[in-house]
Every structure is written in structure tokens, then in C-alpha cells.
Symmetry: D2
Subunit: 377 residues, 4 copies
């Protein structure tokens, strides 16, 4: 089968998220990276293209020239899908242009800077025939997909509570450092990062994971955020109370200054009949608790899993797959969509997930500014 | 050394918490159970006393007759300390009477029904010469004590965040049951349980654990509670946002309807230099995380622990001690206090902890009734 | 109910195993410690008795005077059961005397110095009417008992393999120390410890745990032992291949010089349908694996456990009980036997377990001396 | 940088190990798959090549035609390295031919059928200028590499004991199945699998992991193997006693019939100062134990790791990488070798590892046949 021709905006020399996308595209083996705009500095972009053994003619200086030149190529040669892995403030502009020009788009999160942009992007996607995917990577783990399907099966009974956590510690070294650290880090600068650091960067993953696995919509939030240090403009830590329909309540806890925490994303879904718990740092173990039976530990590559979970893991059981494979599963889902193949419900996050995420971030920031009052999404 | 003569109010046939207190008193070996008022039904109380091989003359029908008769005995024979393990609504009355009559008191939590009673009891204790202890049992674990002392040492740097959880699932079987379950359970009945179920019974343990280990005072709370079912009058589930001095924030999460959770009390204390994590169901493991060093796992019975932690564990390392030993450590601390021996800071919870706990419960309930607004303790 | 009057041989000032026995006897609450021979140094024994608030008339200088004086007392006053917690080489002599004199005996392991003594002791027990118990403490854990009953139920299918481990590291500090360490430690001295250190002290626990949980008899062994250092006379480390009937094979691995290991006793029982795994340092978790279902985690205090396991845990689920409670469960079983009450199969280890253990130790030592050949037990 | 042109022998439709090699080659991004002999059935091989979007001219019917045709191509176009992922009995023949024809070779294990073949292959490699790698994949994990370097640093003191385990359960379904299962499975057929099933397939990984991480040579073995069922010709389960120099002893335990075990490879290295423990199913956690300090948990992507370990993980800490990335690390090492770049000690397993492995398998089988006597490697 012919590979989908892939372009990339951003992700040049030293960029770890761009590298992750490329690896994912290679793992699922449905794509071939052809070219892109790898750096704002064209020379560096070219250096990167050389390093990657790419055709330098397909390495462009700007997104506009990318579009113009690629559209001039024949259908057979033209790049079909583009991954956007630039800093946050550029996602909206580039995604809009590329979609309007007819490219499929795989976009890093957060999707946009504002809810308005998100809604606008949704309109563009809705009126196009292309595939748009947002890389909430954690939805690509087989046990997250298994979780989604167990919930859907009704095995938890009535859901009482949802509790998600995303703790990291890496910002400590920046704000506690002696240098002029804070100003130099784009994630802490509203101009580049948007209205939130902790909630915008990682809290929103916890939010997405809740909506993805439970199928519930979070209807309103009440937040308490913490910039931690006086000269920090954005939140580095916070807690968000959640309300969903049917009197289901929950909480999202998130921090970038929890010393020693690496990438500790967890979720617990607590029901009247059973509960589910999962942790990103041990992604191949899913725990199902009940009041009357021994706790069950689900792992990938077993007949007891759903078809969707099983399709998300290749190796025999006991061979751990990780974050690249999770992202690869999302790329696989996008490829199926581009090719018009039938896919599983939830095989990749959509523009709708992006709109939801932006609403979450906005509402959380608003609640915090508004005396920690309830804000509807 | 002569044993301290111990009496008990409540805790007769079938009572698990009274049994736990008696075991703890025997483990630490500083007490001898002499008599008490074991049941509101005097005959059942006597039956229990027989089963325990106690002198039936020291088995009383009421607390008043207990006090009268014991005071009539010589110093040598008289019961010195009394454990109160009755339902919640009787703690205050009995503790007050016994303290005023000159007995040392060990009281189950919650200490009283109201903050006013708690403050009154504090006055009584303060103006007496006796020891009063509240059994926040989890403070008796060696690794909890180690945690307290590591925080005190400053090793965490600036504390950014505190996060405690207490999840149970046992109330599911009551509220989901087909019978007239709810009305028959005293913990769900405001007349017997007080103003809160989930927060009053277990959330307050999480609160106490935070103040105990960090040495911080929680100054205000914002809560969102959930009775879960229409005909339930008290909270069975909830989240509480916390504010402490120095811009430290935190959260308490608690539930009695998280299916399959047993007694899942955890705490995380996150600082700029290091963080600590502990879980009650694996009480002999304390995790210390830092951004620059491998995670360290502390266990009891090692030279690297503080003197206080080491005094709280008897067996060589690798021999797990449990909840009875934790409670035994608190009884040991009380015995040292009664005997006038020097003790460690925090060797048993005091009436002040009880006042703090009642303020917490009251404020949490008030915040929830008051549109989830911030309430000072 | 009247308490059983308990005596103790050994276990005076500073002895940790004697202290453990006393705590266990108090936890189960069926005993009252009356007196004993607490130390070879009579003055120290008396000092200990005072510390314990015991009647000094019941504190004896020798086992002979203990027997003579106690037998002179009335049935009502006389000590009924005696715990022997002396160094290994005294177990046989004291147990024999006490049994012949009509006392029930609870004896620390190893039961004797030689197989011949063990068989002799078995004859004495068999021809007496008293209860004799050997404290293989780990058989007192509720999840070990659950394991035994799951195996008995046939749920594992055909057992293929058994694998037990007992690793400690405490001997490192002795043999690597600069002083004349080795000679001063009785466990490393054949005169006091017997023919083996590592296998005799801890390997035999692993052996007992296998036979206890599987109900299988180990028929022959092949061992490779290691004294590790030149001037050490006994094994400090070793591996033992096992053969049982029905072509079942297995292995015991044991060490006292595995740096950092505390008391790491584990067992795995692997069958054609399912397998069981348990670890002493996390005693309240029992894992059942199968090729077709999610791993199940059994914990105490649940309706899914057998009656025997449930009778071995008092607290509600999620309240960890530990090593003292395990030993207390064995003391409880002994009390039931003394009182003629019906007990569970395997409620305490017997003289037969002691004989098996001595045969194991002897065979293991013999195999090692005999070019690592197979030796029948 | 130009990609290394990769060929593959075996690994066509439905082959999981060939797929793993291809993914690994794409993850490390130093290779491009050009062609190969993907199936003994040429048509199926071609079907696979189409599916992979490969040039059908580079899809060959036999290894001989592969060699002939590729050698006829120019240096620029010719395949440079070949992965051999056929059944075991073909490794030697194909590796020999390809090496002699001037190709670099990446070979699945076991390297050959016999020690003689292994030694012969070693001669071929030694007298060639090419790179030969054996895919003991587990040596590609960052924490295994960290373990190797910690041992090398001397931090464990004197090593006392090594203990490795490899348990799986998948063969249960075959031997317990009702069909004519056993005969149909090549891994259980000596003609295809060689002289051993359990030890040859997985025990040898444990052996390699020991020699890799400790730098020690296992000098002699004593084994007890078990075919488990009457009509099984090869071992499905076994234990191997190990002796190394300096009086270091150890054990390898391995099974393919341990129900519910997935791919449970573990290693413990126990020294006088510290010990290390690692488990393949949680590959990103490495535990270092000592008698005097808290256990330390090493994880990838931290400054405290060695340069080699850090070079073996790309993502920031807390983003789990898995088995594909481990194999990718080995492919990366091979690429560096092919390109003449400087590499780390142990960056890929060599023909010498293959010789050692074959000697291990042969000696283990011999010991078992020879009354479980010691056999030198």
C-alpha cells in the first residue's frame, strides 16, 4: 500500500515533539515524510532536512510557500497530510491555511489560543473534506481505549466520581534557578503559551482523558490556580472542581512544580459497581476495582480486551509498548480516516476535542479570576 | 513497671473499633483493661465483660455509675484512663464528664458534634492535669512520623502543594441495596453521625494527616460535596480546596462510594526541592522524589530514619507492622504522657487536633451550603 | 472466657523474638503471661520480670525448677502452655522436658538440631495429650491461608512449578565488618546455630511455605550452598532444586548477604490453569494469574475469601495487619487446640512440620557436601 | 545523512518478530528497508512486498538470488545490511552466506543450532570487515544499560549472587489443548527449534542479561529441566545453577508453562554493598538496594544516569518507551558501527554473545541429561 505523503511545520533541530511525531508516523508505517517548514530560520530548516535525508526542494521557508509549491505539484507527488508542531500561538493560523488549501492536518495541542479561534477552526474542518486530528497522545494507549470501552459497556454502574491528576516537576528548576530563567521559557510567557501554563499545557490532557474515557461532558468548572512565584504570570499549579450531568462530580489536579514528578498523569473513574484506575507512567496496567470481587489487572494483548484495545497493541503480551506507540496509534487512526477506511470510535482526537479543550482552559482561567466561582463551559 | 488501669466506654460485642483499641492497648503493653460501660444494654455489656474475663464488679451500666464507683476506689485500684469508643454523638458528653472526674481520656474521632463542644472540651482539658488523646490512628505509623520529621528538616524546600485522598467504597452496598438500608445505618443519620458523613468520618483524617505531617495550618476551605442519592441527607463524596499560609494550596478528595476502594488514604507533599508520597494501604513505604536524584524509598527499622520513626517500629526491617501497631504507638505515647515521661513531638493527637478537625468539618459543610465559597476555619 | 496461663523460656531483655511472641499472645487475647525462665542469667531474668510487672515467684532460674514449681501448683494456678524462644540448640531439650511434664509447647524454629531429635520429639508429642506448635509465622498471614485453600480447590490445574525465595542482607555488615564480627554472632556459629545458617534459619521457612500452601511433599533436593567468605563455617547463601511427586519441580533461593534485602520471602506456584504469587513484605496482596483472564488481586476482609482466610483478619478491608497479627493467628490456633475447639486445617504448624524442616536442612547440607547430588528427604 | 539500505530474510505476512525489526529500524531512523526474501513461498513474499510498498525487483525468491542480484548493483544502490528473522534452523546458513558476500548482518537469536556452527560463524565474522549483531533485545533498554554501568563502577561491592528469571505461560494452551497442538508448533519441534525450547528460546536471554550486566562469565552450569508432559520432546521449564569466577554463584529460572506469566524477565544482582533489581515488564524502573540507605529508583532521562543510558532514551522523563525502542537502540548501535562511528561498550550484542549463548544452551541440556551434574561452558 502506498504511503501517505507527510509534511511537517516546525519540529526541526532539537525539537522533541516534532521528533516524536516523526517516530510515530514511522512506527505505524502509513506515512513517508516528504518535506515541510522545519524552522523559522530557513537555514536551520534546511540543515535539518539534510540531516533527515530529505529532498531539499521540499524544504520550505514559510507555510505560504509550502502551500503554493505543493499545490503546484501533481496529485501523485503532493504532500497530503501535514503535522503542525510549532509553538502554541501558531497552531491556529497554520492549521487554517493548510486546511483551506486542502491538506489533512495533524495538530499538536492546545489547538488554538482562544475559544473563538477553536470554533472558527471547527467550522473550517466541518466544511472541508479533510481529516483533522489533535494529538491528545494519551488516548492512543491500548489500556486507555480499553477503559473507554469498559465504561461504555456499563460495567461501572452509575458513575459517582472522576478524578484525574497530571503532575510534573520540571518548572521548579526554572523558577528556583538563579538566572533570568522565567522570561526565557516560552511556556511561561503568555505571548507564546496563551492564557495558561499548567492547565493549558497538561491540565487539558487530564480534561481530555476524562471526557474521552467516560464519554461524559464536563459542564462547569471551579478552579483555584497558583502561579507559585511573584514574577510568574501564568498558573504553574492548580485544582479544578468539575461538574458533569447526572450529578457526577470530579476533580482535576495539575502541577508543574511538584518536585520529582515526571509525567504523572493518572485517572480514576469511580462507579457504583466498579471503578477503573490507570497511570500513564505504567501504561500497560489497567485496574478494575469492585466491592465484591478481587481487583482485576488488565494488560494489552489478551483475548479479554475489546477489539479496539487489541488493535492498539502489536507485540505479544508482556512486551511493553510506550508513548511512541500510543502516538503511532493515533497516526494510524488518521491514516485510516484519510484512506476512507472504517475506524473505531475514538481512534484519534478531533477538532471537537480541541474546542472542548479550549473551552476548558478559558473557563478554568475565568473561574480563577472570578473568585473561584462556577463557570459553564 | 505497673500497667495503667484502663476503662472503656462502648466497644462491646461486635464493635470493631473498640476491639482495635483493646488490641492496641495490649500491643504496647502499658495498660490493663479493668472495666467499663461496654454497651447501652447493660446485660450485653456484662456478657461482653464475661467473655473478656473481666471482674463483673467493674462492668457498669452508665458512665455516671462508672465514675461514682471508680472514684470510690483507692488510688491503687482505680481505673486511670478511659477509652471512649461510642457512636459520635456521645463523645463530648462522656469525655467531659470523665475529664472533670479526673480520668485520662482517649477518645475516638470525631471528637465532638460541634465546634462549640470541641472548644469547651479543650477548655476542660487545658484546665485539668490529665492527658487527653484523640485517635487519629494514622499518625501512629512510623513512616508518617518519618514524613513529619523530613518536612520539619526543610528537605522539601518551599512547599508548593499538598494533596490528600481518602477513598472508600463500602457505602455503595448500602445506598444501592434494595432494603431500607440507608435509614438503618447510623453513619448516614445526622442524629448519630453529625453534620457530615464522608468528610466527618474520613475526610477529617486526611485533613489531620496534612496538618500533622506538614506542620501547616489550613486557613480556609472551599468544598463541593455530594450526597450522591436523593434520599441521602449527608455527603458521601466530596472535594475540598485548601489554602494555607505562604500561598500554599492543596486539595482533599474523599469518597465513601468509590467502588472497590477499601481504605485508600494517601498523601502527597510537593515542594521545590523534593516531594513525599505515602499510602495507608502500603504503610511501610515512604517515597521521596526529587528532580535531580533517584526516588528514595524509606522503610521502617533503618538507621537512616529519625529517632521518632524508629521508636515507632519494633521488628527488624522487612517485617510489616500494621494498623494495630500504629494505634499501639499512640497508646504508647499516651502512656508516656500519663507517666510523665518525655515524649516525641506528635506522639499522640491532642484536643487541639480535635478542635481543628471540628472546625474543618464545619467549614467544609458551610462552604458547600454557601455556593462553594471560601470559608475560614 | 478464662485466659490460658502462659510461660516463656528465653525472650528476656533485648530479645526481639520473645517480644514478638508476647505481643502475639496479647493480640489474640487468649493468653496471660504468668512467668518463665527469661534469661540464663537469673538476675537479668528477674529484672525482665519486674519490667513486665510479673509475679517474681513465677520467674525461675532453670527449666527444671520451672517444671518442679509449676507442677506443685494447683490446676487453677499452674502455667498451661510454654513458649520456647531460646537459641536453637536448646529447643529440643526444653521442649522434651516440658512436654513430658505435661505442658503445651509453642516452640520457635528450627525445632531441633538434628533429624533424630526431631523424630524423638515427634514421638513425645504423639504419645502425649498436649498441643505442640512450631512458629512458622508466615503461615499465619490471611493471604497465605487463602493461597493454601485456592490450591486445595484445584483452581490452579496441574501444578508445574514452585519457586520460593527468602533474601536478606543483614549478614553483610557482619562479614564485611572490620572487627572480629563473625565469631561473635551465634547464628554463624555451628555450636549454637546447627548445621546451617542461611538454609537453617530462613531457607527452611521457604520450604515450609511451599509444603504448607501446596500440600505437596518435597521428596528430594539438590543444593548449592555458599559460605561466601573463607572464614565463615556455615552457608550464607544458596539455591536448592526441588522435586515433588507427579513430576513437579521447583526451587528455593535464599541468601543472608543480598545487600539491601530486608525480609524478602516470596512464593510463586505455577499451574496449568492459573498461578499464585505472594510476597511477605506486602502480605495483604495475593496475585492470581491466568493465561485467559485479567490478573486478580485478593486482599483480606472480603466475602470472596475462604472462611479460614477471613477468620485470620479482624479489621475491615484496607486496614493492613502485619507480622504480629500473623503470629497472633498461630497463637489463636494453638489456643483453640488447647481448649479442644474445632480448628481449621493448618491453623498452626505442628511437630510434623518440624520434622520435615529438619529433614530439609539435613538433606540440603548433605547434597552440598556430596557434589550437589540429589538427596531424598 | 543517508539511510543504510536494509534487507530482510524472513519476516513476511503475519510474522511478529520481523515486524518488530522493521519498526525498530524505522524508530532509530538510520535505515531504509529496500527488499529481501520475506517468505519461503515467493508469492507470499511478493504480496508482502506490495503491502509494504517496496520495489518488487528487490523482492527475491531465495537468499542466493538475493545475494547475486544485490551484488550486481552499484555500491550506491546495493543493500548494505540484512536482518535475519527466519526460524532458528536457518540462521546459521543465511548469516554465513550473507557475511561472506559482504553484507552486514543483524541476526535473531538463537544465533545457530550448535556450538560448532556458532564458532564457525564467529570465525567468519572475525575475518570479515562487517558488523554482525545478535538481537538480545533486552540489552537495548536504557535501565539495563544503566545497570551494566553501575555494576562496572563497582558500586555493588563484591558480587555475591546473581538471580535471573524468565517466565512465560503461553505454552500451556498448546500442551493442554485438545487438538494435535504440540506437533504443529515449531518451537516445540527439535527439527526447527534446536536442542531446547525453554532454555533455548528464553533462558538464554536471562543468561545473556546476566553476562551483559555483570561483565562476569558463567563458567559452569547444573540444570534440571522439565518437558512437563510425556509427549513433549523439549524442555518447557527448568532451573539452572550457575557458577562464575570469584566464588560467585547464581541461578536462572525459566518456564513456558507458568500460567498467566506473560514475558516476565527479571534480574537481581546482589553485592556486599548494594544490589540491583530490574523487571522487563516495568522496564523504566531500576531499583538499587543497600543495607544502609533508602532504596533508590532510577528512571530514564535524568542527569544521574550514565551517558550510555541517557543516549538510549529520547523522550523527557516519565514518557515510557518500550520494547520497540529497546530494539531500536540496538539497531542504532549497529548503524553507528556500520558507519564507523564511536559507540558505547555494549551498544549491540555480538557474535561472541551468540557463541556464549549456544554454549550455555548446550551445557544446560548436557547437564540435564547427565544426572544434573556440573558442566563447564
Amino acid at each position: 500500500m502506498q504511503k501517505i505523503k507527510l509534511g511537517m511545520i516546525g519540529g526541526g533541530l532539537g525539537a522533541f515533539i516534532g521528533d516524536a511525531h516523526r517516530r510515530a508516523s514511522r512506527i505505524c508505517n502509513d506515512y513517508q515524510l516528504i518535506g515541510g517548514v522545519f524552522d523559522v530560520d530557513f537555514e536551520k530548516g534546511q540543515e535539518f532536512a539534510k540531516q533527515q535525508d530529505l529532498d531539499l526542494n521540499r524544504c520550505y521557508a514559510t507555510v505560504d510557500s509550502f502551500i503554493e509549491s505543493e499545490l503546484a505539484l501533481s496529485d501523485v507527488d503532493r504532500i497530503q497530510a501535514v503535522s503542525i508542531v510549532t509553538p502554541n500561538m501558531l497552531h491556529y493560523e497554520f492549521a487554517s491555511k493548510l486546511l483551506k488549501a486542502g491538506f489533512h492536518v495533524i495538530c499538536e495541542k492546545p489547538m488554538t489560543f482562544t475559544v473563538e479561534e477553536a470554533l472558527d477552526l471547527k467550522n473550517i474542518v466541518d466544511s472541508s473534506n479533510q481529516t483533522f486530528a489533535l494529538t491528545h497522545t494519551y488516548t492512543g494507549y491500548p489500556m486507555v481505549r480499553q477503559m473507554k470501552e469498559i465504561v461504555k459497556s456499563g460495567a461501572l454502574g452509575k458513575i459517582h466520581r472522576v478524578d484525574a491528576q497530571y503532575y510534573q516537576g520540571w518548572v521548579n528548576s526554572i523558577i528556583e534557578g538563579t538566572g533570568s530563567g522565567i522570561t526565557g521559557v516560552w511556556r511561561l510567557d503568555p505571548k507564546y503559551a496563551g492564557m495558561s501554563s499548567c492547565m493549558g499545557d497538561i491540565g487539558v490532557h487530564a480534561f481530555n482523558l476524562i471526557e474521552y474515557t467516560t464519554g461524559l461532558e464536563i459542564s462547569s468548572v471551579l478552579s483555584d490556580l497558583n502561579p507559585v512565584k511573584e514574577n510568574v504570570q501564568l498558573d504553574l499549579d492548580g485544582t479544578v472542581l468539575l461538574r458533569m450531568n447526572d450529578n457526577i462530580k470530579g476533580v482535576i489536579r495539575s502541577s508543574q512544580v511538584a518536585a520529582g514528578e515526571e509525567n504523572n498523569l493518572t485517572i480514576g473513574i469511580y462507579g457504583s459497581e466498579a471503578s477503573l484506575k490507570w497511570s500513564q507512567e505504567d501504561p500497560n496496567f489497567l485496574y478494575m476495582l469492585s466491592d465484591t470481587e478481587p481487583t482485576k489487572v488488565y494488560k494489552p494483548a489478551h483475548g479479554y480486551n475489546t477489539e479496539f484495545a487489541e488493535a492498539s497493541h502489536v507485540m505479544p503480551s508482556g512486551h511493553p509498548e510506550g508513548i511512541y506507540e500510543a502516538l503511532g496509534n493515533i497516526y494510524k487512526g488518521v491514516a485510516k480516516s484519510i484512506r476512507g477506511e472504517e475506524s473505531f470510535d475514538g481512534e484519534f482526537p478531533t477538532v471537537e476535542d480541541g474546542v472542548r479543550g479550549m473551552k476548558f482552559i478559558k473557563s478554568v482561567v475565568e473561574s480563577n479570576s472570578n473568585n473561584n466561582s462556577w463557570i459553564d463551559l
